[in-house]
C-alpha cells in the first residue's frame, strides 16, 4: 500500500475514486473484448478445424499447424518470413532506435527550435505507412524514380541499383523506410524519459569531472532503462507485425523472390488471395502462432527489463 502511495505522490494529476476509475476501464474493456479478445479467440478456434471456403469442416486438432512446417509452400515460406521479421527487428533496433536515442539526446540539450525539430521528426509517422511505402517505391523505381536519377547525375552510378528488385537490398529498403517513418517514436519516448531525469544528477556528475560521453554512459543511459525497455518491446511487436510497408514496397508476394516476405504478408496471402480451400484454417494457424510468439517474447523482454530496472533502485 505504501509503495503505491509513493508512486502516486510522484505524479502530478487528479486522483480518481475507485468507482470513476472503474467506469473508464469498463468501457475500454468492453471495446477490447468485442474487437480484440473475441476475434483472437475465434481465430484460435478456427485454427483447429479444416475449412472448405467458409464452411467449417471436421476438428483437425493440430493439422493446420503441422501443415505450416511440413507442406510446401508453407514449410519454406514460414521460416523465410520469420527470418525477415527478425531482420526487421534487428534493423529497427540498430538504425531506428539508436538514431532516435541520439536525436533525443541532442534535442534535449537544444535550447531553441526544440519543438520545431520534434515536430519534423514525428511528422512521417502521422502519414499512413501504405502511403509512405508506396511513395518510396515510386522514388526508388529504377526506370522513373528520382533517387537513381540523382545518383547517376552526381556520378555515383554504381549505387544506382534496382533497390527493390535485388533480394539482397530489398529487405534493407524495407528496414530503412520503416526506420525513416518511425524514428520520431523513440525520439518522443526517449525525449520524455530524458525530461524525467532530475537535472541535479547530471550536474553532480559533471561536477565530479565526468566528460559528456562518460555522463551519458554511466548516468543517463542506465536511468533510461525503463524507456529503453518500453521502446524495445514496442519495436519488437511492430517488427513482428509489420505489414503495410512490406506490402507497399514488395507486394503481397514479398517480391523479389520472397525477400520482403513477412509473416503478416504470408497470413494475408493465405487468407485472402490464395483461393485455397483451407485458407481459413491455415491462416488462423499462422495468426495464432504469431500471436503466441509475440506475446511470449514481449512478456520475456518486459520481465528482463524489470529485473534490470530493479538493479537501479
Amino acid at each position: 500500500m505504501s509503495a503505491t502511495n509513493t508512486r502516486r505522490s510522484r505524479h502530478i494529476g487528479i486522483t480518481l475514486s475507485k468507482r470513476t476509475g472503474l467506469v473508464f476501464i469498463l468501457t475500454a474493456l468492453i471495446l477490447f473484448t468485442i474487437f480484440v479478445l473475441y476475434p483472437l479467440l475465434t481465430a484460435l478456434s478456427y485454427s483447429f478445424f479444416n475449412w472448405t471456403g467458409i464452411v467449417r469442416g471436421d476438428f483437425s486438432v493440430l493439422d493446420n499447424y503441422v501443415t505450416l512446417f511440413t507442406k510446401l509452400p508453407y514449410s519454406e515460406q514460414v521460416p523465410n518470413a520469420f527470418f525477415n521479421n527478425v531482420l526487421l527487428f534487428v534493423g529497427a533496433m540498430v538504425f531506428q532506435n539508436t538514431v532516435g536515442l541520439g536525436l533525443a539526446v541532442l534535442l534535449h540539450r537544444l535550447k531553441r527550435f526544440k519543438r520545431f525539430f520534434q515536430t519534423i521528426f514525428t511528422l512521417p509517422y502521422l502519414v499512413s505507412p501504405l502511403v509512405v511505402g508506396y511513395l518510396w517505391s515510386l522514388m526508388l523505381s529504377p526506370l522513373f524514380g528520382p533517387v537513381n536519377f540523382i545518383l547517376k547525375a552526381v556520378g555515383l552510378e554504381e549505387l544506382a541499383q534496382p533497390w527493390l528488385g535485388n533480394p539482397a537490398t530489398a529487405i534493407w529498403v524495407v528496414v530503412f523506410v520503416t526506420a525513416w517513418q518511425w524514428v520520431g517514436f523513440p525520439v518522443l519516448l526517449y525525449g520524455a524519459a530524458l525530461g524525467g531525469i532530475p537535472q541535479e544528477i547530471e550536474e553532480a556528475a559533471s561536477l565530479d569531472g565526468a566528460t559528456s560521453w562518460q555522463r551519458f554512459r554511466e548516468v543517463t543511459f542506465p536511468l533510461l532503462t525503463p524507456a529503453i525497455g518500453t521502446v524495445s518491446v514496442l519495436t519488437f511487436i511492430g517488427a513482428m507485425e509489420a505489414f503495410a510497408i512490406p506490402y507497399a514496397l514488395g507486394g503481397s508476394q514479398g517480391s523479389p523472390a520472397g525477400a520482403t516476405d513477412v509473416l503478416s504478408l504470408l497470413f494475408y496471402r493465405t487468407a485472402f488471395e490464395s483461393g485455397a480451400s483451407n485458407a481459413f484454417g491455415t491462416s488462423s494457424a499462422i495468426a495464432t502462432l504469431l500471436f503466441i510468439f509475440i506475446f511470449g517474447v514481449a512478456v520475456f523482454i518486459t520481465w528482463f527489463m524489470r529485473k534490470a530496472e530493479r538493479k537501479l533502485y
Binding site: F35, G53, S252, S274
Partner: protein, 431 residues
C-alpha cells in the same frame, strides 16, 4: 462536485464510444433488393472488374430496356481480395444474385461449398461455347456446369508498329528473324521487351508466350495430365531456358521493374514489344490511344515440339447463380442472355474483351488481329488452366522461380523441378 463531474464525463465518453462502435455501417448501395411484389426484380451482380463499372452499367442498360421490371445492380470489388469477399457474400444473406466467378481451380471452393447453382440444361447456348472454355466453369468433382463463361484471354507479343517501321523491321516469322528483330532493337536506344518482373504473376504468362511452342502446347498438356510426362521433361526445361535467354532483351535488372512500370514503358514508346494478355488491349487504348499496336505469335525456336506458332489462352471469368438467391428465375433469364451473341458483341465492343460466345465480330483492329492468330493455332495457358486446383498454385510457384532465374539464382532445370515438386503436393495424373 469534481468527482461527480468526472463520473458523468466518464459515462458520457464511454457510451459515446460504445454506441459508435456498435452502429451498423450503412450498407453500400442499398436501395430495394428484390423484395417487391411479383414483377419488379433487382438482380445484384458482383465482379472484380472495377475498371469496367461504367461499361457494365451501359451493357446492363440494354438488358433492362429489353426486360422491363428488371433492374441490374453491378458492383465491383478489389481484384486481389475478391475471392474472399465473394465467399463471404455467398454464405451470408446480403450476397449477390449473380456473382462473376473465377475460372478453373479458383471456382472449386465455391462449388464444393454448395454456393452455386448448377445450370446444366437450363441455359441455351452453352453447347455453342468451345469445350476448353466451358471447362473453366465446370466442377472438377461432379462435372456439372455452374456458370456461363464470359471471356477468353489470349497471350501474345504486342509490338509498337511505329518503332518497327523506324527500324525497318517486319513481324518475325522464324526464330532467326525474331532474334534479329530483338538484336536490332537492342542496338537502337529502345528496350526490346518490356517486362514487369517485380510482379511475379506476369512471369508464367511470359514463359508460355515464349515457350509454349517449344514444349508443345496442347500435346504437352495432355501428356502431363495423364502422367506420361512431368514438368521435368527436357522440352519444358528448354522452354524455361528460352525465358532466361530473353533476359538480355529486357530492361537491365528487370526484377526491379513493376508491371505498371512496364506498361508505361510500352505506352510511352520506351519499349518496342510487350508480352501480355488480351486484357491489355483496353488499357493500351486508354493510355495510348494514338499508338499503332499490333500483335504476333512468337515463332517456333529450333527443336520446337509444336508444328506452328501458338497463342496460349484461357477462359477468364464466368457468371454463376448464387444458390441462396431469392430471384433464381430472373437470374437464370439473365444468364441465358449472357450466352447470346448479342451479349457477346457487347463484350467485344464495350469491354474490348474476347467473348466466350462464338459468332462475335471484332471491329477493333488490334483485337481482330489477335483473335485471328488465336483461331489459327490454340494452346492452353497451361499452369492457369490445369494447375490451380490445389495449393501451391502452379502459377505462383513458377512465378517465383522465373524471378529467381532472372536474378541468376536459379537455372531452368532447377525451376522446372521446383515447379514439379510444388504441384505434386496435390496433383495426381488422371490415367
Amino acid at each position: 462536485m469534481r468527482r461527480k463531474l468526472l463520473t458523468l464525463a466518464a459515462f458520457a465518453a464511454g457510451s459515446a464510444m460504445l454506441l459508435s462502435g456498435c452502429a451498423p455501417s450503412a450498407p453500400a448501395g442499398s436501395g430495394g433488393d428484390g423484395s417487391g411484389s411479383g414483377d419488379d426484380v433487382t438482380l445484384k451482380v458482383w465482379s472484380w472488374r472495377t475498371e469496367d463499372i461504367e461499361k457494365y452499367n451501359s451493357i446492363f442498360d440494354v438488358y433492362e430496356k429489353e426486360n422491363p421490371g428488371v433492374t441490374v445492380e453491378f458492383e465491383a470489388f478489389q481484384n486481389t481480395e475478391y475471392n474472399q469477399i465473394l465467399t463471404t457474400g455467398l454464405a451470408g444473406s446480403d450476397g449477390p444474385d449473380i456473382p462473376m466467378v473465377r475460372a478453373y481451380g479458383q471456382l472449386q471452393p465455391n462449388i464444393v461449398a454448395g454456393q452455386l447453382e448448377p445450370i446444366d440444361g437450363k441455359v441455351d447456348g452453352l453447347d455453342e461455347i468451345a469445350p476448353s472454355v466451358l471447362a473453366g466453369a465446370v466442377g472438377k468433382e461432379d462435372g456439372k456446369t455452374y456458370a456461363v463463361p464470359l471471356a477468353t484471354q489470349t497471350l501474345q507479343m504486342f509490338y509498337n508498329k511505329d518503332i518497327f517501321e523506324q527500324n525497318d523491321l517486319e513481324v518475325p516469322t522464324t526464330w532467326k528473324e525474331f532474334i534479329k528483330v530483338n538484336e536490332t532493337l537492342l542496338a537502337s536506344d529502345v528496350t526490346p521487351i518490356a517486362l514487369g518482373a517485380k510482379d511475379d504473376w506476369i512471369l508464367p504468362i511470359f514463359a508460355d508466350i515464349i515457350g509454349s511452342g517449344r514444349y508443345g502446347g496442347t500435346e504437352f498438356e495432355k501428356k502431363v495430365l495423364d502422367g506420361s510426362t512431368t514438368f521435368e521433361d527436357p522440352d519444358y526445361v528448354a522452354s524455361l531456358q528460352l525465358v532466361d535467354d530473353m533476359k538480355k532483351y529486357m530492361t537491365p535488372d528487370v526484377v526491379g521493374v513493376s508491371y505498371t512500370d512496364s506498361q508505361i514503358q510500352f505506352t510511352s514508346g520506351q519499349a518496342a514489344q510487350f508480352p501480355g494478355g488480351s486484357f491489355e488491349i483496353a488499357t493500351f487504348s486508354t493510355q495510348a490511344p494514338d499508338m499503332n499496336i499490333g500483335s504476333y505469335q512468337v515463332p517456333l525456336p529450333p527443336q520446337a515440339v509444336a508444328e506452328a506458332p501458338v497463342t496460349p489462352a484461357y477462359a477468364d471469368g464466368n457468371f454463376a447463380i448464387n444458390s441462396k438467391s431469392p430471384n433464381k428465375e430472373a437470374a437464370l433469364k439473365l444468364l441465358n442472355w449472357f450466352a447470346t451473341p448479342e451479349f457477346g458483341q457487347l463484350v467485344a465492343d464495350e469491354l474490348n474483351q474476347f467473348s466466350a460466345v462464338p459468332g462475335v465480330e471484332y471491329s477493333d483492329e488490334v483485337m481482330s488481329e489477335a483473335w485471328d492468330n488465336y483461331e489459327k493455332n490454340k494452346a492452353p495457358y497451361l499452369l492457369l488452366v490445369d494447375f490451380r486446383y490445389g495449393e501451391p498454385l502452379g502459377t505462383a510457384v513458377l512465378g517465383q522461380q522465373v524471378q529467381k532465374m532472372l536474378l541468376g539464382e536459379q537455372d531452368a532445370a532447377g525451376a522446372a523441378s521446383t515447379l514439379q515438386t510444388g504441384i505434386s503436393q496435390w496433383f495426381t495424373p488422371t490415367k
